[in-house]
């Protein structure tokens, strides 16, 4: 029940190409590298969407292991519960900046519940996604030294201890091509220097990069526990990922409403809304008050269909959005957008608690 608080300041950057044109990781690396001073070299990471077209129907598990024992135990679990289409070492480039790293593997899988498990799933009316979520939770909480840091389809998280540009170099991100990219530069003040603690945090195809501190962590965590989520990472960003999973995937709330839970309207404003909006917002606060994300934050939340930028309800952390053609950029600093797209159509700072939601124009 006790955890080391992930006290961190950070920089973040991300963009989406609404026409699903895939671009190499070079741009996002340039953007986050410009925000070098927002981190302290103890954590950098990226999420990329559209990078595994050849395995797009398979969950891509990125797993880090502390030792071969953990690997063996985990793989036993994977082979038992999953159909493993393909697996390999995550390709890395030896660099002086990243002197040491965990064992890194990726697996492209489908759920293969045993008969017994299938019956249990059926009893609880759960689907394949739920099965995958449970397996991820199980590995992360039960297998010592193993950590699933990415589990979505046609997307992947890449993260580690180091400055983000060095982490990118290490993971060869310049060789990947995606239509959504997000990046994070971390400034933790009490990190144990653990690779799993870097952002993004992911679950299925949700990925979060977060600049902030969740002052409401205590109740957010206890609320999530009621719905079977186990917060294992001893950091607070994890709860953001799980809250979104609960609200959007399980409770079927729209993205807009989910953002209104994380960053809810003030009562003084709700009192002045018309009857319909007043009812909506009052009910959200009454029922989902424990999921309100209180404290300073700017987050970029990517998923298979889009990218969302959101600030806390009083905007205590920076977030800038820029538009150019099919591209929408979101970043902690305008300069980090301008360095990759100097000629923006529009640029603005979203208001406190008002999400910027960008989805692909038409589902291919």
């Amino acid at each position: 029940m006790f955890y080391e608080k992930d006290i961190s300041g950070c920089g973040l950057s991300g963009f989406i190409d609404k026409s699903k044109k895939r671009v190499s990781g070079e741009e996002i690396i340039k953007s986050i590298a410009l925000q070098h001073d927002r981190g302290n070299g103890l954590g950098g990471g990226f999420a990329a969407y559209g990078i595994y077209p050849e395995f797009k129907d398979y969950y891509a598990f990125h797993i880090m292991y502390d030792n071969m024992n953990a690997l063996a135990t985990t793989e036993e679990l994977l082979h038992k519960d999953l159909l493993v289409k393909h697996y390999e070492k995550i390709p890395v480039r030896r660099t002086l900046k990243i002197p040491t790293h965990p064992i890194l593997r990726r697996y492209f899988v489908k759920a293969k519940p045993s008969e017994e498990e299938y019956e249990l799933l059926d009893i609880e009316s759960l689907d394949e996604d739920d099965f995958i979520v449970r397996l991820v939770m199980r590995i992360n909480s039960e297998v010592k030294g193993a950590f699933v840091f990415s589990s979505g389809k046609n997307m992947g998280a890449f993260k580690g201890v180091g400055f983000p540009e060095d982490v990118a170099d290490f993971f060869k991100l310049d060789e990947y091509h995606g239509y959504i990219w997000t990046a994070h530069n971390r400034f933790p003040t009490n990190t144990p220097g653990w690779w799993g603690g870097a952002h993004p945090f992911t679950l299925l195809d949700w990925s979060i990069v977060h600049n902030g501190e969740v002052s409401s962590y205590g109740i957010n965590k206890r609320y999530l526990e009621m719905f079977g989520y186990k917060c294992t990472l001893f950091t607070d960003t994890e709860v953001v990922t799980y809250i979104l999973d609960l609200l959007i995937r399980k409770h079927k709330l729209s993205k807009e409403l989910a953002c209104k839970v994380l960053s809810s309207a003030f009562w003084k404003d709700i009192d002045n809304m018309d009857d319909i909006d007043q009812k909506v917002n009052t009910a959200l606060r009454m029922v989902y008050g424990s999921a309100l994300l209180n404290g300073p934050f700017a987050i970029l939340f990517a998923y298979k269909n889009g990218l969302i930028g959101l600030n806390d309800r009083v905007k205590l952390r920076p977030l800038i959005v820029g538009y150019k053609g099919d591209r929408v950029y979101m970043s902690s600093e305008e300069s980090a957008i301008r360095i990759i797209e100097p000629d923006l159509d529009t640029v603005f700072a979203p208001k406190a608690g008002e999400p910027v939601i960008v989805e692909f124009e038409a589902e291919a």
Partner: protein, 508 residues
């Protein structure tokens, strides 16, 4: 042996009257409802009977020249840590009367730990900014009632509206309510003060089990009416005029027994409101005679909902006892919208000393275990938890909320704000401060207008303090504090106590 009564033989307090300052105005004599002060006409001097003094300090406050001070009698029984003076006094008294010893207010002995005092709160430094309530919105609004696990919405003509139909809720602008103190136990003027202050501050007061005086019906929207085992004053109009209904199963000061209102306090108005004959003792049965099991409770909950057309949330109030967590779970599943827990240190107008001092558990532990149990069962959202019995300050309120309470009830604090000095003699009906009495002239010592103002001030003041504290933690809405136990740390607690409270020790 003693040939006169114990209380006539020894004085606990000494009335010091400074003769140089005394102007013989006899105000003290008129103010003392216990006749401790007197006047010797022949010699034209004030007299006093120390043994009658209950240390309410009314005379001291009213003396125009500051001539009076009350002090504890330094002459005490020979010291004995096992056979304390109070044990001996109680035996003397009981040997005289052969009855049960009655007491008023909460247990004053302080022999059990007050866990609120062993818990400290967090604050933000550097990495997350604290928020200044003078400059930023800071929200305390709270809704009490059953919540669904999830919400459903529908879209029509491009507008999203709420599809889920919510059950009735009580809307509170502050997470504090005036707790159940019946009309009869305290008088009409205090009730008027509570009713008006509740309306003014956007909170609720609880009628207690003595019914609701008809003249207070206009404040019904801010009133929770109680249905206790005596069913005093319960009728359809009473239930429907209220904002909420509370079934009183137990009370923290006296778990396992019913309410006691001595006949001395039952005057005409009390009699009419309670629907009982004037002058009779109003003794509520220990159990509800229609509730002998949890399924019976369910029937009463739904009977009350039916009677009010499902527009009022129904609370069930229990005393904090050993098995509260399991009982609470049953109550939630029986259909209660609000669960009220009343702790061991809670107050009362009259209770047997043996019960008050020995039965029940502290509210902090009961609250922590109930909240955790309901979470373990995944039903915490289905009910709001209100706690009472030991809330003395805004800090206690914040700590209770951090442990998992949705709101708190304050009883003793309510009375103190209108002048109660905790002399603990409520059951005599002679309250010199005009609170726990229905005596016509004593009651006038409470001016409802001033009571309303003082009660409102208390709520406002605590509200401001709560905002300072949660703002200091970097929060701007109370719901982020609720159940957030990691903002609490324990000092001087055993591992098992920390475990039950669900908090870490300070320094960790």
């Amino acid at each position: 042996m003693l040939y006169k009564s114990f209380v006539d033989s020894f004085s606990d307090y000494i009335i010091d009257r400074n003769e140089d300052k005394c102007i013989l105005c006899r105000i003290c004599e008129r103010q003392c409802s216990y006749e401790a002060h007197g006047f010797d006409k022949k010699n034209s001097v004030m007299t006093k009977q120390d043994h009658k003094c209950i240390c309410c300090r009314r005379c001291e406050a009213m003396c125009p020249t500051g001539a009076i001070s009350i002090r504890e009698n330094p002459s005490q029984f020979k010291r004995n840590s096992n056979w304390t003076a109070s044990h001996r006094k109680n035996i003397y008294k009981q040997a005289e009367t052969g009855g049960i010893l009655l007491v008023g207010m909460g247990n004053p002995t302080g022999k059990q730990p007050t866990y609120f005092d062993r818990m400290l709160l967090d604050a933000s430094q550097v990495t997350n900014p604290s928020i200044d309530p003078l400059r930023e919105p800071m929200e305390l609004r709270t809704y009490l009632g059953r919540k669904p696990d999830r919400l459903e919405f529908e879209e029509k003509d491009g507008r999203v509206s709420l599809k889920t139909k919510l059950t009735p809720q009580l809307k509170l602008e502050y997470p504090i309510m005036f707790s159940a103190m019946s009309y009869g136990a305290i008088n009409y003027n205090v009730h008027v003060g509570m009713a008006r202050a509740s309306q003014k501050m956007g909170i609720y007061y609880n009628t207690g089990e003595g019914g609701l005086h008809k003249s207070l019906y206009p404040y019904g929207a801010n009133t929770i009416v109680q249905v206790a085992s005596g069913r005093f004053g319960v009728n359809a109009e009473y239930l429907n005029v209220a904002g909420g209904i509370e079934i009183k199963i137990g009370q923290g000061a006296k778990p396992g027994i019913g309410g006691h209102l001595p006949g001395e306090k039952v005057n005409e108005e009390v009699s009419r409101t309670r629907m009982i004959p004037a002058g009779t003792d109003a003794l509520s049965p220990a159990p509800h005679h229609d509730i002998y099991s949890i399924e019976d409770l369910r029937q009463l909950i739904y009977a009350l909902k039916e009677a009010t057309d499902y527009k009022n949330p129904v609370s069930v109030k229990i005393a904090a006892v050993h098995n509260s967590a399991a009982i609470a779970s049953g109550i939630v599943r029986a259909g209660a919208d609000i669960l009220t827990l009343d702790g061991y240190r809670g107050g009362t107008g009259a209770a047997p000393l043996v019960t008050r001092n020995n039965v029940g558990i502290p509210i902090e532990l009961a609250l922590a275990s109930v909240d955790q149990r309901l979470r373990d069962e995944g039903i915490r959202n289905h009910v709001s938890i209100v706690v009472g019995g030991g809330i003395r300050s805004s800090a206690d309120v914040v700590k209770a909320i951090a442990l998992g309470a949705d709101a708190v009830y304050i009883g003793t604090a309510t009375l103190v704000s209108v002048g109660c000095t905790l002399c603990r003699m409520c059951f005599t009906g002679k309250c010199p401060w005009g609170i726990a009495t229905n005596d016509q002239s004593l009651s006038k010592r409470i001016n409802p207008d001033i009571a309303e103002e003082k009660l409102s001030n208390l709520i406002r003041g605590w509200g401001l303090e709560i905002k300072e504290i949660i703002g200091g933690m970097g929060l701007n809405a109370l719901e982020s504090m609720r159940g957030s136990r990691h903002r609490l740390r324990g000092v001087g607690l055993s591992e098992s106590e920390l475990d039950i409270l669900g908090i870490a020790p300070a320094g960790k």
